[in-house]
Assembly symmetry: C2
Homo-oligomer: 449 residues x 2
Amino acid sequence: MSEEARSERLSAFDELSDEEIRSLLADLGDHELLELYAHLSDTQSVRAFMLLDLESKTDLIANLSDAEQEWLISQLPMQNMRTVLDEMDPDDLVDVIQAVSAEARQSVWNSLSPEAREETQFLLRFDEDDAAGLMTPRYLAVRPSITVGQTIAFIRRNGRDVETVYYVYVVDQVKRLLGVISLRDLLFTDDTITVGEAMARDVVSVRDDIDQEEAARILDANDLIALPVVDGYDRLLGIITFDDVIDVIREEQTEDVYKMGAMEGSAERYVDSSVWKLIRKRVPWLIVLLIAGTITTNVLSHFEPIILAATFLSWFVPVITQTGGNTGTQSSTLMIRGLATGEVRFRDVGMVLAKELAVGAIMGATLGAVIILRGVFLPPGVGWLPAVAIGGSLVFVVIFSSLVGALAPLVIDRLGADPTVMAGPLMATIIDVAGLTIYFTVARLILAL
Amino acid sequence: MSEEARSERLSAFDELSDEEIRSLLADLGDHELLELYAHLSDTQSVRAFMLLDLESKTDLIANLSDAEQEWLISQLPMQNMRTVLDEMDPDDLVDVIQAVSAEARQSVWNSLSPEAREETQFLLRFDEDDAAGLMTPRYLAVRPSITVGQTIAFIRRNGRDVETVYYVYVVDQVKRLLGVISLRDLLFTDDTITVGEAMARDVVSVRDDIDQEEAARILDANDLIALPVVDGYDRLLGIITFDDVIDVIREEQTEDVYKMGAMEGSAERYVDSSVWKLIRKRVPWLIVLLIAGTITTNVLSHFEPIILAATFLSWFVPVITQTGGNTGTQSSTLMIRGLATGEVRFRDVGMVLAKELAVGAIMGATLGAVIILRGVFLPPGVGWLPAVAIGGSLVFVVIFSSLVGALAPLVIDRLGADPTVMAGPLMATIIDVAGLTIYFTVARLILAL
């Protein structure tokens, strides 16, 4: 649906009958529904929610932010909430319970069926940021001694409420994971063979306490629809499905982008963040960067005599620091990404520095030539020798920035810290301070001051 | 496997027998294999490749970069290449054909079986960046008149070579997409009902020429294992599977990170990029930013009389521009991410500016206080009135930067350009130029110069 069409429907929302809204909503995909919902007023959104079919209700709730989940649940009549919560997948239900405030949690809890309460209690034992925080306990598992034909019959009997019927896990009497067989393989195997013979034994699984991002990478690398989660004794606890993994990858992406933008890396939506939350997310880094950045004040006051002898040098200070910063950011971005995808490691440091030296030298010469021409021919016009002094020192600043920008993430990663957070500030400070020192030193030599 | 264990095995690689290497490789997951492969020498990597089983061979080739695919294929004996290529999925095969040079393409082509050649020719008609570039023509489709029981039998007969057996598409005599039924639903439906009655009619599909990223979002939003691709007449062309979508999301992520780092957004691996390629990727933006940034030179030369009257003001120039830049980067990062995920739109501009004004004012006051204390109590020590002049003007610079940083991406997006690429440079220039003007103007008023 086009933006215009949606706006049009939306503006008429309050004049539509329940039946019209119901059919309007039924036409929307999950994604469109979420967008529409985000643009409704409070009253409208509750009305719209009540008119959804049960499946759309649970899908919508699962995709709302924590604050929106809490608000919506507080608006629903008890009986309605019970129907919706009982229909939700247990992993989504646990997210809701962790999202809402203590008071709301009690009423959510009271409205659950005994089975849902039991499943939820089981899942709440695990840390929500671990792999186990993504898993659902609704999977299919059989013993190795039953036949392929019996397994297919078992799926037809028990498959309605599980997250996926496409993998059946094979476990022993204490639920230790022995193997896996896909529904595809079941269909292509003789009905009389036992699952123990037909299953794949080299089943890819993860421990419950590994990182969600690591679990996502493992599912991705093996192109799995679902990934089993086991405890320290290799007992099957639950499964993680590919759709949850896609969500983890997207969240990770948002967090990385925020970190690159010099902010704390929590992926909360801008529209949901209060002014205070935004300030708490943003101001710590700004203060750190401000204090570190003031070392440049000392550098500039130190070179005061040279600035007084050649005032035009101070006019180019922002250009020098910005160009150094931009060059360093490029190098560090390439390294941070390379480290994240695993293609660059600390042991490659020799190759990286050689490459950055070559790239920095050629880029520095190019940028130096640009600034010389700009300095001579455009106002405020500084003449050839001053322009060469500025352009010449820029070459060294660019080379230095390329090297520092590449080195900082590699060293930080080697020390076990997160280069996405640390590399920017550290690098910016070093490049500003050292860059200005290089600038004034080289310029003084060329100008023979 | 730990890093150490891998290094150890690796160092002994040349002394191991073929049998030992074969069993070493068989133990590795796809991800580990790819990592190990990346660290082998040329001779070692060909030897390792030849010792893989056929499935691992095709998986590995599909996951290599273009340059690595081309190199590896040039090293393989003709007969070997034929076996491997015939086993590859058609979408991966097309990627290989598009990756290799014209000469290599001929020999790849000659070694294909007639069926593989036909499939490949069909897929090569589509643009590799469109949704169609991700699809495979190996899906299951039936007519609506056959029964559920017949469909399950059809899957058991024809399901071996398709990408997924978990969805069966229902098409008419000219292959127009009528509906879809999952293997799960087939198992839960009476065998004698026709597929036409049992199928879901509101099947989510995409046109062949939409963006890959858009197709990825649609599959993700609907939690689908596979997404059908249709032409302008709604005829089924192929399907896109979730594993390809995860790869698209990861690539998109790398491109966005590169753009934020002021580089062209192609996702080629650093280790594969030559010095010249890196320079071509990096130097254009640096030149644009350098030239735009030199407007600050004019600003500083314009305020020369004030700088000469209060030299200490120039010492704080890098701190002012950096802090303005950092603040603006935070705001624009939040907006770029908000636009990308769809939670912020141009129509929210009023809410965004109000929020940024409040956030900017409070952060500006905080940072202003920090710089006043720093200016008074730490060397080079500028006294209370100068420090208040600097800190006071910083408040306005931070407010201004918050607003510009938020506004730039919204306006650029509204004009139909890509804010990830354009917002950074545009904003940096405006903030530097206007920020320094604000700084000197406010400081002059406070100092009564």
